[in-house]
């Protein structure tokens, strides 16, 4: 029998206590991975809106949110004339109100925007989505909660608009949003001649550095970032991701308290056994290693359970119609590595006091303990 076998046996013979400790960690891991997965999924959805057939995003420098970014629409035209650009699309992001729905995401796009070609047309057609006809296209979920159909009209903001069609989009934000012709959207929000971003598709053999250089020379108030750079630097994404880790971390630390509790009970419940181990020649270090080993094993069991719970939970949430398209149940290696690191930290921190107590037990006194 090895020290690890002793560790395993100690946990096995106190199954309920072990299960409670592991459950605490499991809930912490599940909460953390779920929150990170949910918010990460939301971020990915938003990224995909920007990355639609493009590699570079142009927006106003130093804005806290893309909704506040103002980019002259002419920039898109100027960019399209450059040899390193295949395509440049202006997009205006806004929030619009509808009866019973104070917040609806609205995308002001040009009628030939590739987003409209990606979706599945459930009703209507792209032909009616023009500046002249002033028609709007609704995502399937938006049409559902706004109770609108192609051919009808809908109140949005200050105006009433004909519904040109209904699209089924993969992306939750787009599926629950409204697409307006760019000019119409600008008028509605008093942003004539402006858009939030210009998404740039590069010509073959050209790189983002050329766009950045051109922007630096011609539009100093604007910035161009590759999609990946944008995701890393965009403050809203940073806030969301940080929030996810902080909330998850707090849940984890609460789980860690259950490990501490379990290990304290475990040590206090076998003071005589630990004393006998010392009498048999166990050093303080060996006793401490045994307690840390038990804590690590409880934590490992909890982490595995929590991971399974979070994956199952996220898949279950994805099946909820209202949440479809908003949740990306994939948990990346960074999240798993983060959860594992926290699990190890929690296990070690949670076992610190019990291990110290056990290692410093005086065997003769402990054997007299009742």
């Amino acid at each position: 029998m090895s020290l690890w076998r002793m560790v395993f046996t100690n946990l096995r013979r106190h199954r309920v206590r072990t299960a409670i400790g592991a459950a605490g960690i499991a809930l912490g891991v599940a909460t953390m991975l779920s929150v990170v997965g949910l918010l990460g999924g939301a971020v990915k959805m938003f990224e995909r809106i920007l990355q639609s057939d493009s590699e570079v995003v142009v927006f106003e420098k130093n804005v806290s949110d893309l909704f506040f970014s103002n980019v002259p629409v002419e920039v898109a035209g100027e960019l399209e004339k450059q040899p390193f650009v295949k395509d440049a699309r202006p997009v205006l992001f806004t929030i619009i109100t509808a009866p019973g729905r104070p917040v609806v995401t609205c995308f002001g796009i040009s009628p030939d925007d590739p987003r409209l070609k990606k979706g599945e047309w459930l009703q209507g057609s792209a032909a009616d989505f023009t500046e002249q006809k002033n028609g709007v296209v609704l995502g399937e979920r938006a049409a559902d909660f706004l109770n609108a159909k192609a051919g009808g009209t809908i109140e949005l903001g200050q105006g009433t608009y004909p519904v040109a069609g209904v699209l089924r989009m993969e992306n939750g934000f787009e599926n629950g949003g409204v697409f307006m012709p760019l000019g119409t959207c600008q008028r509605e929000f008093h942003k004539e001649g402006l858009c939030s971003v210009v998404t740039v598709a590069l010509a073959d053999g050209h790189g983002s550095a050329e766009v950045k250089e051109w922007m630096g020379k011609n539009h100093k108030r604007l910035t161009a970032l590759e999609n990946e750079e944008f995701s890393r630097s965009y403050s809203q994404f940073k806030i969301m991701k940080t929030t996810a880790w902080v909330v998850g971390g707090c849940a984890f630390l609460l789980g860690g308290l259950s490990v501490t509790n379990t290990m304290i009970l475990s040590v206090f419940g076998r003071i005589k056994e630990l004393a006998i181990a010392r009498v048999c020649g166990f050093s303080r270090g060996q006793v401490a290693r045994m307690i840390f080993g038990e804590s690590l094993l409880v934590s490992a069991i909890g982490t595995a359970l929590g991971w399974a719970l979070s994956v199952g939970g996220l898949h279950a949430l994805r099946a909820v119609p209202q949440l479809q398209g908003y949740i990306d149940p994939r948990i990346g290696w960074m999240e798993v590595a983060g959860a594992l690191s926290l699990a190890v930290f929690t296990a070690l921190a949670g076992a610190l006091y019990p291990a110290w107590y056990a290692a410093n037990l005086k065997p003769a006194e402990a054997l007299r303990f009742e």
Partner: protein, 221 residues
């Protein structure tokens, strides 16, 4: 001299309870010594002092040629030189007897195969070979105490310290376990210090050292 205890003092509760008051004890290699005296006279404390489980207030404790002064020495003694048997077996109830007996081997970082070979040999000698796979809770009192004896001997210690090793056994088991203990110690030339208040068991040892009020009579020689 295998065990040398000289003018040892030990107290508890910041000196308010004095248990050992200048105890002296000398035991030669291979000696079989009974410590006799009434409950509370300091027998168990003296054994704890010899094994290093208790630190002394003052005095000298030397075991197998080494002064018991620090933690590494105590651990080395408990791993390789001293085996300890208590009145209660103190085996872990949910482990098998074999697993319990392997604890000292794990502590000493011994090889598993060698440990198992020694376990089988000792289990044969003590009559618990067929009970090795049983959990402790499934064993009788006599078997548990034999198991405790096997555990104490696993690392082949030179010295065996026994604190009322048959005190919790019935009449028939008491004699059997004590016979076995003496046989194992004598056949292997080991040193035994036994704390007991049973005059019959004490009478079967080579020497009796009487303790009273924290002191050994006759200077423990």
């Amino acid at each position: 001299m295998e065990i040398l205890v000289e003018d040892v003092w030990k107290s508890y509760d910041s000196g308010r309870i004095e248990v050992l008051k200048g105890v002296t004890l000398r035991v030669e290699k291979g000696g079989i010594v009974a410590l006799c005296g009434t409950s509370g006279c300091g027998k168990s404390t003296l054994l704890n002092v010899i094994s290093g489980l208790e630190e002394v207030d003052r005095g000298l404790v030397r075991v197998a040629g080494r002064d018991v002064v620090d933690e590494p020495t105590r651990i080395e003694l408990l791993r390789h030189r001293i085996g300890y048997v208590f009145q209660m077996h103190h085996l872990m109830p949910d482990l098998t007897l074999a697993e319990n007996c392997m604890v000292p081997v794990i502590a000493a970082g011994g090889k598993r195969a060698e440990g198992l070979a020694r376990l089988n040999e000792l289990a044969e000698a003590t009559g618990v070979a067929r009970r090795l796979g049983q959990r402790v809770r499934e064993l009788s009192g006599g078997e548990r105490q034999r198991g405790a004896l096997v555990r104490a001997l696993m690392n082949d210690p030179e010295i065996l310290l026994c604190d009322e090793p048959t005190g919790a056994l019935d009449e028939s088991n008491r004699g059997k376990v004590f016979d076995l203990l003496l046989e194992l110690v004598r056949s292997r030339g080991r040193t035994l210090v036994l704390a007991t208040h049973d005059p019959e068991l004490a009478g079967r040892c080579d020497r009796i050292v009487r303790m009273r009020d924290g002191k050994t009579e006759g200077k423990g020689i």
